[in-house]
């Protein structure tokens, strides 16, 4: 027997003191703009300014790519019939992982767009392992990233090759490992299924909007963390850690996770650290698009925290291992 709508809504709604309305949102923003002059003497401390610049910059830079990703996911929800993805991919799940990884070359841009698309692929019938492989591959092997790497390391094509190979291997390996040991119930529990009703435009708008706010909210958390790491970590300390190879690799791996530099830009950042050995610098470029605070925050949002708790360490270990192998072999 169905409950009356108001009972269900009451049970579901989180109790809050202040109802949030559209008007209050607009008022808060307008007030912020209006009070800027009043507030400005209190907020001109350089660390706060620097933190804010980096935080805002990360969000401005990420939003176009996040929007692209959620529009693709909205399109998947509105236009692609549920079983279509499953039919498009190879039947053998291992080949599906490989195909999904290779498809990563098709999505240009920041890792922010890949997470919502990956979630939507699963709810449209893709095997989770393949969708996850796509999610790891797309930010790391798309043409823009490879081009940036080539520009940052001119005359050193082996760096581009090593990065491409290590990232592709990481995506495939994590997908295959997840097929074996991963618990798909973890991520299915958090995904929302679309109930196809009404017209396609409504579905597209509703899905895009939902995914944008959902993934975007978690992205904000990650960006705030990354901005803090960037403002707080002093360069002198980083420099002293470059000497020993093992320490250097660990340092740049940790930095890649904390700084959350966009995959199109991380090659330039690491090209400016010549005192670090190449193996450490490759680790920065391979681990960064796979595990960083921005990404883990978004994965926790879209797939749930229990999923992220398993997936992040797995992808970290595999990506680091792949970087070490390819650095030893090619660089």
């Amino acid at each position: 027997m169905a409950s009356s709508p108001s009972t269900v809504s009451d049970r579901v709604r989180t109790p809050r003191m202040v109802p949030i309305t559209a008007t209050s949102v607009v008022l808060v923003v307008v007030a912020a703009a209006a009070f800027q002059r009043v507030v400005s003497p209190f907020v001109d401390a350089p660390p706060l300014q620097t933190w804010s610049t980096i935080f805002v910059a990360l969000m401005i830079q990420a939003t176009p790519f996040l929007l692209l990703g959620v529009m693709v996911s909205g399109g998947l929800a509105a236009l692609v019939p549920p079983a279509f993805i499953a039919r498009m991919l190879p039947k053998d799940p291992r080949l599906a992982v490989g195909a999904a990884s290779a498809a990563g070359t098709l999505l240009p841009g920041c890792e922010c767009g890949a997470v919502p698309i990956s979630g939507r692929l699963v709810s449209r019938g893709a095997p989770p392992a393949a969708a996850l492989a796509f999610m790891l591959a797309a930010p790391a092997i798309n043409p823009i990233v490879l081009l940036s790497t080539a520009v940052a390391f001119p005359g050193q094509p082996e760096v581009v090759v090593a990065r491409f190979a290590a990232s592709l291997v990481t995506a495939v390996a994590v997908g295959l490992i997840w097929m074996r040991i991963g618990d798909d119930r973890l991520l299915m529990a958090s995904l929302r299924r679309i109930q196809d009703r009404g017209d396609r435009l409504s579905t597209f708008v509703a899905t895009t909007r939902h995914d944008l706010l959902h993934a975007g909210g978690y992205l904000v958390l990650g960006a705030a963390l990354a901005a803090t790491a960037q403002t707080v970590v002093p360069q002198r300390i980083i420099d002293t850690l470059a000497g020993n190879v093992v320490v250097a690799v660990l340092t740049l791996t940790v930095l890649a996770i904390l700084l959350s530099i966009c995959s199109e830009a991380d090659a330039f950042v690491v090209a400016g650290l010549p005192q670090f050995p190449m193996v450490a610098r490759l680790a920065f470029m391979v681990v960064g698009p796979v595990v960083d605070v921005k990404l883990v925050a978004m994965q926790a949002g879209v797939f749930g925290r229990p999923f992220a708790r398993r997936f992040a360490p797995l992808s970290l270990m595999v990506s680091l291992g792949a970087a070490l192998v390819f650095a030893w072999w090619l660089l």
Binding site: P5, V25, V28, I60, T63, L213
Partner: protein, 263 residues
Amino acid sequence: MRREVQGAILLVMGVVFAHLVLSGAYLNYVKGSLLVPLIGTTLVLLTLGALSLVRDHEDELVDVEPGAGEFPACEVAATDPREADAHGHDHSHAPRIGLLMLAPLLCLLLIAPAPLGSYAAERGGSNRLSEPQVELGELPPADEQGAVPLTLADTVVRSLFDADGPMTGTPVRLVGFVAEDDALAGYRLSRFSVACCAADATVRQVVISGGRTDLGEDTWVEVVARFDGHVQRPDGEPDSTGLPVLEVLSEEVIDPPRSPYEY
């Protein structure tokens, strides 16, 4: 979070992005080539926001398959299988975390953060770059005053790795901001090199010897100076880097440029 609230968030995002694009303020945070994607983003945000506010019949997003329930990624009815049937009215749910999207907007509006300046320059490592593996090209042509306009990044690369090259002994015109260093007899002319956005910025600096001593930090100046081969290697900096010292020929205080970073 109701549909209208979501729509309001998207609309205000669109308005803020429109302001960033129209005023050029986006250049304080991201590279110039992001202009077209930002314009597209603005239009999409405004459209989605408007559509969300005016449409009165919409799909619901509900769980067809009840999940395990203890993993709420979304706040709404994730566990109630009756939710699909129970609503006579429509509403679209999105999780409250979406409200966080207002945080960068409020930060931008309230704090109006300035482009990265002397504070960030002093904390980051200066002149972190590696020896170029390809040939450095010829210098650009000199302007009417006989000085060659160069970026700070180019100046630093040529000073450190091409000291016998065409730049040594040639007057160059540089634009940057002042980052002072009390230990030196001159200020550091600085500018950030950015690949993607301010988050990946690295600072390029040269010491201007013989320059004015009354310039405050973060003052923007246009300097004509000459590199004669002298590079400082401050203690504690890696061997691969250094601070080129340039003799000043002329200095002029200028307004902050529209695009504060170099690419």
